[in-house]
Amino acid sequence: MNFFIKKLIIVIPTLYIAWTVVFVTLNIIPGDPVNLMLGGRPASEEVRENVRKNLGLDKPVAERYVSFLINATKGDLGKSYLTRQPVTKMIKENMMPTIQLSIGGLIFGVFFGVFFGIIAGTKPNSMRDTFAMVIALCGISLPSFWIGMMLIFIFGTTLGWVPIVGEGFVSLILPSISVGLFFAGGMARLTRSSLVDVLNQDYIRTAKSKGLSTYNIILKHSLRNAMIPPVTLLGIQFGLLITGAVITEEVFARPGLGQLLLQAILAKDIPLVQALVVYMTAVYIFLNLIVDFTYGIIDPRIRLERKSA
């Protein structure tokens, strides 16, 4: 229990430090946000002052920093420059498609990655090892936007098997593959090397000496141990899923937070960019927390104290 509580507690300062980085970064912007707000129209000094007050830009940096952190915690980060809508509302509206996409990519990536990793790792230096690893290499070398378009081209346009646009589960297939492919490649490689390591361990020899079947050994004994590094990789690659959403939503013309972020950047809509980054960072950190928890569940050495040897 100790382990899980400790991890939970550390998350909070990490979150605030990350948010601080966001604040610092976004406030180095050259140029006057007031201009953006006014849409480049000329305005009197009075109007400018009003706008400045509305944006809270007349207050000193320290005060703005503190209110920024408070607002971020509350989940209220002001209004978008361009649409004048509360950014939180905009995020809520666009959240679902991105979550679906991320989960789709995650499922594809984990299943195919681990599958090919096991194929390769259980017979290292064999034909099937080479085959699986070449596929994995392709996975990490393929630009996701290109493979996305190729998938649309082959399966959508030419073969007409899968609908390109629209809601629903079926339309999630191609984008999920697009997002998850890189992820699958990395998982496959890591699962393979981890499995090879584990299968060379002494306790596998002990398992064999008990007369356990190969199948049994792989599933029960090695997989649990071998999955520890790939789970760690998951944490690092969550960032990929989030950002992969940006590209894939663009390619497949799907609504979502990725699209929103892109448009916000191009339009220099600072409050929206800020809110999205704040939100995505929080999600990233919490996902990593879940990964840490999983790590603790899989490996008892992590969560339990060692007795004296």
Binding site: I17, P143, F145, W146, L266
Partner: protein, 284 residues
């Protein structure tokens, strides 16, 4: 010395590195000799019918402006390769300097420096690059800077731990006792010893850098038209996917093959490095 030669031989003869190496050399030659190889200028519009399919005179067809896709791809090699290399160089140089310095000085400086690296790791790097571009604006070199910047914590962390290991070696202590200046030890002694590791991780990350930059260009944040950068070409080719798929297929294909070659080489290099290290350890 002999051991090194054996490893080098194994590396060169290995199928993976051979394939990757050859393809990469082809691309580099293409990039360097672009004016000679490309039949048309990459920016020459209306050299022929617009959106015409691949033929003898237009190996990869033409795009919406009547430009020869093949020529644009050959020139594009210059962009994609060089920006990748520069971005990685930037990240490596900054990351190494930071990593070696805090490892060498140690103590509180090291602790603070490591915390800084950890904090920057709290961000997915692509998001960081997006953020930087949001601030400094769009453009190919902005993106190169952004991607390079986002890669610094990653390099700094690895190089720091490598430097820490080297720092423990007796010859470093000997150098300190002999009164060598700090800079001399850091860059004259520690750096050369971790050089192989630096090369390997730089190569392994090169592929990722190329893709990141191409991705950002694809989103419209990097190379701007009419620059023949492969990512940007994919973005414009996208509109004509239905009738002129070659404008989309080839830039992406070359992006893929280049990154794959770089990754192959990086893989083999890292295996060779592991082999060398285990032989060294075996000796000791």
């Amino acid at each position: 010395m002999n051991r090194n030669k054996i490893i080098l031989k194994r590396f060169l003869l290995n199928k993976g590195s051979a394939i990757g190496g050859i393809f990469l050399i082809v691309i580099i030659i293409g990039a360097v000799f672009a004016p000679v190889i490309a039949p048309y200028n990459w920016n020459a519009v209306d050299t022929g019918p617009r959106l015409s399919p691949p033929s003898l005179s237009y190996l990869f067809g033409t795009d919406i402006h009547g430009r020869d896709v093949f020529s644009r791809i050959v020139y594009g090699a210059r962009y994609s390769l060089s920006v990748g290399v520069i971005s990685v160089l930037f990240g490596i140089i900054a990351g190494s300097t930071f990593g070696i310095t805090i490892a060498y000085i140690g103590g509180r400086v090291d602790i603070i420096g490591s915390r800084i690296i950890d904090v920057m790791f709290g961000f997915p790097s692509f998001l960081l690059s997006l953020l930087v571009v949001a601030i400094i604006g769009v453009g190919l070199w902005n993106v190169v800077f952004a991607v390079g910047l986002a890669s610094i914590p990653h390099f700094a962390r690895i190089i720091r731990s490598a430097a820490l290991q080297v720092k423990e070696q007796p010859y470093i202590e000997a150098g300190i006792n002999l009164g060598f200046g700090n800079l001399r030890i850091m860059f004259g002694h520690i750096l050369p010893n971790i050089f192989p590791i630096i090369i390997v991780i730089a190569t392994m990350d090169l592929g990722g850098a190329i893709i990141s930059i191409a991705s950002l260009s694809f989103l419209g944040l990097g190379a701007q038209p009419p620059e023949p950068e492969w990512g940007a070409m994919l973005s414009s080719g996208r509109e004509y996917m239905r009738y002129a798929p070659w404008t989309m297929i080839y830039p992406g294909l070359f992006l893929f093959l280049t990154v794959m070659s770089v990754n192959l080489l990086g893989d083999r290099l890292s295996q060779a490095l592991d082999a060398r290290q285990s032989i060294n350890r075996g000796k000791a």
